[in-house]
Amino acid sequence: MSKYSVIGTRLQSIDATEKLTGSAKYTTDISFPNMLYGKILRSPHPHARILNVDTSQAERLAGVKKVVTGKDTIGKKQGVWRRFPDLCDEEILCRDKVRYVGDPVAAVAAIDEDTAMEALSLIKVEYEVLPAVFDPLEAIKEGAPLVHYGVELNINNTRHIEWGDVDEAFRRCDHIREDMFRCSSQAHACMETHGAIASFGYDGKLTVHTGSQSPYYIQVLLAEMLGLREGDVRVIKPPTGGGFGSKFELDSAQFCASLLSMKLCRPVKIVLTREEEFTATKRRTPMYYAVKLGAKKDGTLLAKEVRAITEGGAYTGMGATALYLTGFFSSFPYKYPNYRYDGYRVYTNTAPTSAMRGFGAPQATFVGESQIDMMAEDLGIDPMEIRRKNGMAPGYEVPGEAFIGSCGLHECLDQIEERIKRRGKLPANRGIGVAAYGFISGGIFNWFDTPYAFSAAMVRVNIDGKVDLFTGAADTGQGANTTLSMICAEELGVRLEDIRLHVGDTSICPPDLGSWGSRETLMNGSAVKMAAADAKRQLLEFAAAALKPNIVYDLDIKDRWVHLVDRPEKGMSYFDAVKAAIRGKDGEAIIGRGHYSPHRKGMVSPAFSFGVQAVEVEVDTETGQVSLVKATTAHESGTVINPIGIEGQLEGALAMAAGYGLSEELPIHDGKIQNGCFRDYKLLLAPDIPETEIVEVETYEPEGPFGAKEAGEGLTNPTAGAIANAVYNAVGVRITDLPITPEKVLKALHEKKHKKPSEA
């Protein structure tokens, strides 16, 4: 018998048919009898005091049922960093002042969207416009306008990471580089905008349908913000049209719809427009970096010192986590004996910045992988060699921070190097750049302060052998539903079609922190595996009684066959075992329970994935345009649960990360985001995507279910850096400021051309 019967097979997504036929009901597709439509009035000013809000005219408009403002709330501020009350700084409906263009001021519920829109125009808000600050480097200066009262120099959060003796180590270096970098913002640009339908009843209970990465977080935060008991808030997550970090914090649609529904005892639906999605939801954190890197002549990296100032925007959100992770991942994936990071997250009067796929690591990897190539060139060392010499390996401890269990970085380096060599000599203006990366498999940090296990699952085996799997995981399209069902089927010894998954309902699924930080496969997968093992153990008790094997034999189930492990031909049908077991339990269905929380795994994550990416580009020296020719990624994520699913993650991450490298940004003028639509915000399109090759390097991660770990988010990390290195290798210009637009490349080519004579 092969080792696994489900895991490792290329399985179609279990929810694909519903989506392919138009039958899947997303939040926007759902409506209820007596439902009203809501719209949100947003601040046109980046910074202003609210002197008065007059809603009387709006309330008089026919069809308007309710207008709420900050005065209608219980006056709380929310945030996901609940352990630190100072970082819970967002009222959602502003009471006193607005802090960015798009900050909500009022919300309307009306009989239809047109009426609600008209009502917004009738709300009179009197503002006292205040001086505003947009750039974190300005905001951190003495005398800058304060975004939040009492927050000196607008410093929202600081992080310090240090090990070794950095200053002493720099003195021992043969060569030191000091460089500055700037990383731009990025919009999640989920195809489905944020939306919610809130239904509050006279029974005092609230039900909210909303696309989300963490129904549990939304349940808890809504309860806090509305003064309800957690148990009286039920969050139901329909299929969700993308998340990428944008959908696990409480948002304006969820909160305003709930507040309006509570006032009216009627369902209220709010769906954000695309423009609101671009300008008034959170986004990737722009960062300024100053990095000092020291090495010995032979390429041994001795010390690194990183200082980062990040643009926080108006509120904290999960931005404080990005501040930490960018510092942690600035040491990745190398064994720096001496390392120091100081990060400052600074409030500005811009749209708040927070989590986005990679969570600070794409920025850190762009910076780190650019600079390591610069260092290699200075030292006359091959870029692969310097990475190999310093790269992390299994068993390495990031001092005081994390333990690296499985790690296939060196195999990935070998695979990529071999493929680059095969490409041979490239034509003019073509270049290949490389970047190495790593990522977490779920965070250990619990700033949300949940008292529950990080993940939990329940398995119920029914009389017909069908298995109900209940878990709090949140599939936003990445395939968690399929992965978790596969893990359950494998552990229990049944087929995928035997599993019926129940997710996305806080009233029936055990709490799970949600799908962010690449948690689901390792953390939720471990809980699912434990629950399935618990159910299997109960089945085997009855099977053993029926089969009466010699006591030295172990029993197991595989592909619906209960058998003696060493004599697989001896056994009984899974279905018969289920019937016997339920009969034997006085008719009670078999119920297995499982949970997972990381223990004794350091501060950061129980496991890390690794990889190396090579990107080949062609630079048009007339226009500055960078075209992607080929991308090859060697990726290591432990045991692969669903190979076709990982390919989908990798290809999707490449497009998003190449967009970050080349074209995606959110320019802000006077506090206003200038490109709040898909015509002006440049996502890569189908013709822009190069040929992609994926090399899966298998390792085994002892902490993960069947040896699996993170497989989707870390892939967003390497691309911008690999492109920057490729552009340098193609035409000799080094772009340190994302995105690498034609304008920047042309300017750099021009400067290079005109610098030459003076140097000569």
């Binding site: 392919l20 138009g22 926007t28 999640h188 195809m191 936003t476 399209g477 290809e651 015509r679």
Partner: protein, 160 residues
């Protein structure tokens, strides 16, 4: 004032009273409950609301419902294979894992349908170009292009 509009939706003659400013996408979703037609930008930039109008792929958020008077509309709910099961395009999207969040999927499939009707044997480059008006944030397009190529081969095989 609402106007009477008659149109053929997925093979059935239908009538609806629509305000002159209502888009076809809005009417399909709200008046006929055909939620498979997704509105992701409402400005004609993303392709999620693509339907077939007299056989051609159009962005239904940019077309007024009254302008569809007397015309044939096919939405994702009306696209099925010969046996009433999945259409070869839907089948290929499933087999090739071309669906992740699924929000762009109906528009992608109908754009591909229109493309293959015009050009039953496209090159990969022609598929990429033909799909360039449809945005996807999850897949990076690779598996979508693979699926369209596979469906094209299968559909040609069936027609022979």
């Amino acid at each position: 004032m609402k106007q009477r509009v008659t149109l053929n939706i997925n093979g059935t003659e239908e009538e609806v009273y629509a305000e002159p400013w209502w888009s076809l996408a809005q009417v399909l979703r709200e008046e006929f409950g055909l939620g498979g037609t997704k509105i992701a930008c409402n400005t004609g930039d993303c392709g999620a609301c693509t339907v077939l109008l007299d056989g051609k792929a159009v962005r239904s958020c940019l077309i007024l419902a009254v302008k569809a008077q007397g015309r044939k509309v096919v939405t994702i709910e009306g696209l099925r294979g010969k046996d009433g099961g999945l259409h070869p395009l839907q089948q290929a999207f499933m087999e090739h894992f071309a669906v992740q969040c699924g929000y762009c999927t109906p528009g992608m499939i109908l754009t591909a349908k229109s493309l293959l009707d015009e050009n039953p044997a496209p090159t990969e480059e022609e598929v990429r170009e033909g799909m360039s008006g449809n945005l996807c944030r999850c897949t990076g397009y690779a598996k979508i292009v693979e699926a369209v190529m596979a469906a094209s081969a299968r559909m040609r095989g069936e027609h022979r």
